[in-house]
Symmetry: C2
Subunit: 163 residues, 2 copies
């Protein structure tokens, strides 16, 4: 069966046992999680969350971009979240990525320049700290509680990074 | 117990039964899902995914931003995904959002201008179609398979939007 059709079959099974149709848009735990798109991170499972508990923002690296700030602003200002949990992880595809090499490849293959930075990460702890700084220094984000972690994809464990 | 401490306790329980520590970074299903940060959408559950299956990108609205394109480029070019599934949803906080009103509030409360568009959505189907167009027209994204859906938060069901 083609990939997406199998997902739709899975969704039909999910919908048959669906029991959370009365949840509001505002997250029950007033929580927002920003993390990497990495396939190994099932955010709901690793944090023991249920449908309706938390906004989840994900991008390559779990870095704080302008789009993350937009989403967090909406999350806090319009939907009442108060706590931010930032999670980056071991063995991330963005670690030690050679951006210059990728740029040269794109230029030679597609004949155009990449219009964005890739967001390569050199050092995980430093990157989480930089993310925490970006979050707490933004005038558009409330910093009631902002916590940063590194997720170990080999053990399933979260390690806190001190601010 | 404070919110984040409870999540860490949940994580310890998850790590104790952790059995997927040998998964590679490249998604097993060569799949990338772009969707909204909405708390009611547990992507793994609604699509029947397992750890390691798919990259998940999430932002306010599940819209195609420059940061989405960055993440998808990384997902395809560096980690080999081929299929993109775009999912927006009913009762989204971005639907009929009055951006001008929010801007005026921020200016009056914080004395500064919001430096980004909020990405309000007027019509869901049109918005998914616009997202599909943005994805298939980007020179940095392979369009081997791109599918768009609306997720109904009342029924748990996905409805496909024709391209």
């Amino acid at each position: 069966m083609p990939r997406v059709d199998r997902l739709l079959e899975n969704n039909r099974a999910y919908a048959e046992n669906f029991a959370s149709g009365d949840l509001p848009a505002s997250p029950a735990q007033k929580l927002m999680v920003l993390t990497c798109m990495d396939a190994r991170i099932d955010v709901y499972k690793i944090l023991g969350l249920r449908e309706g508990d938390a906004h989840i923002i994900r991008n390559a690296g779990g870095i704080v971009t302008e789009d993350s700030l937009r989403s967090i602003f909406v999350s806090q200002k319009l939907l009442g979240t108060e706590t931010i949990v930032l999670i980056q992880h071991t063995e991330c595809g963005m670690l030690n990525l050679d951006e210059d090499l990728v740029r040269r490849q794109v230029r030679s293959e597609a004949g155009v320049d990449l219009p964005f930075d890739l967001g390569a990460i050199e050092d995980l702890e430093q990157s989480v700290r930089r993310g925490l700084d970006a979050l707490t220094s933004s005038p558009f984000i409330n910093d009631k509680e902002v916590r940063g972690f590194i997720y170990d994809v080999r053990t399933g464990t979260l390690l806190e990074v001190a601010d």
